[in-house]
Assembly symmetry: C2
Homo-oligomer: 233 residues x 2
Amino acid sequence: QIVEFMSSFFAGREGDLRGLKVLVTAAGTREPIDPVRFVGNRSSGKMGYAVAQMAAERGAEVLLISGPSALAVPPNVKAVQVESTNEMLEACLAAYDAVDIVIKAAAVADYRPRDVADQKIKKKTDDALTVVMDKNPDILKTLGAKKTHQVLVGFAAETQNLLANAREKVVKKNLDMIVANDVTAAGAGFNSDTNIVKFLYANGDVCELEQMPKVDVANRILDEALRIRRERA
Amino acid sequence: QIVEFMSSFFAGREGDLRGLKVLVTAAGTREPIDPVRFVGNRSSGKMGYAVAQMAAERGAEVLLISGPSALAVPPNVKAVQVESTNEMLEACLAAYDAVDIVIKAAAVADYRPRDVADQKIKKKTDDALTVVMDKNPDILKTLGAKKTHQVLVGFAAETQNLLANAREKVVKKNLDMIVANDVTAAGAGFNSDTNIVKFLYANGDVCELEQMPKVDVANRILDEALRIRRERA
């Protein structure tokens, strides 16, 4: 952490987010099938926790809304733990008006089981188990539709057609920027300590970054959010 | 850990598992829906890791076969990481002939999605997503059917009809003992550091234990496994 602090310091980032409120979402959400089973996803939370950590080191007031994660909450970060996508949406909406920058790094469950069993579903003798799932609300799209002064940054974790999918999201969801990464690439994605990402902007610009530690990706994302905010003012 | 070691020592357990090979399974297995999503369960791995730790402290040669868990492998424990129920079954079968005691604390996925998508399933505009799941092999039943010299201890995590379900399992799966816990009780079950369990035996005996730390439950389970082994000899 001392090394990270020094790198922020020498890059002229010290305190540059002071006075700003940054909302970060992280990790994956879980949707219960019954009291024991759930549908989850592979997000470790590392990318989002790195953003929260660097934003706090750079002086921002940080609210981290996180799904279940084994990671420790970084120093000087206020954390809210949620489980399902609907809980994450509610927590985001409650904070949204008051924040300046939103970095939505969480990998939310797009679908949730329609019927959640009160008791553990017992294994049947010979049957298949069919789980019908309904679409969850789209948190990023909801925030995009309600955007006023906020800088809104999303993530696109894809396994194919990365740029086309990301470009569509940045426009349709009214984002300022999207961070696209191919989660199947070596040195990128879930559980990796490094990431390989592209930044796509509302105006169509694309910026490709080299493989780098997630804390460095975090700083670059925050740099961009700050730049977008300043250009808008 | 020093406290735990001392408690083992003073209870006359020091080295009492020396020369024995103990296989412990722990945590939950995951069944992929696509490269991003999976069906999982809430097991933290704490109970199984506690058994592995105490067995190693008491001198056993311990093999821990674990699903994804945030916990550190205890000292002097050989660990094999698996993801799905089929992978856990294969790892157990590979080790089974050579072990003396099997403590199956893992919470395995009973069902797995029939079709695993190669690529991330994109969110459709208006459709529900239906996941058809097939029954997984029953690891405990498979080990029970192949039992020769081993002492085989299972777990039953239930949310209702705890004793009836556990009693049925101990007989049908040819276990020597089953550890039953109601995962919905306060101070028991997933993620808790304590547990409230009952031991049920093949002969119909039931023993109810008070709420206690999972490491103490672990020692009591190992005591019983050792006693059953000695009685059989």
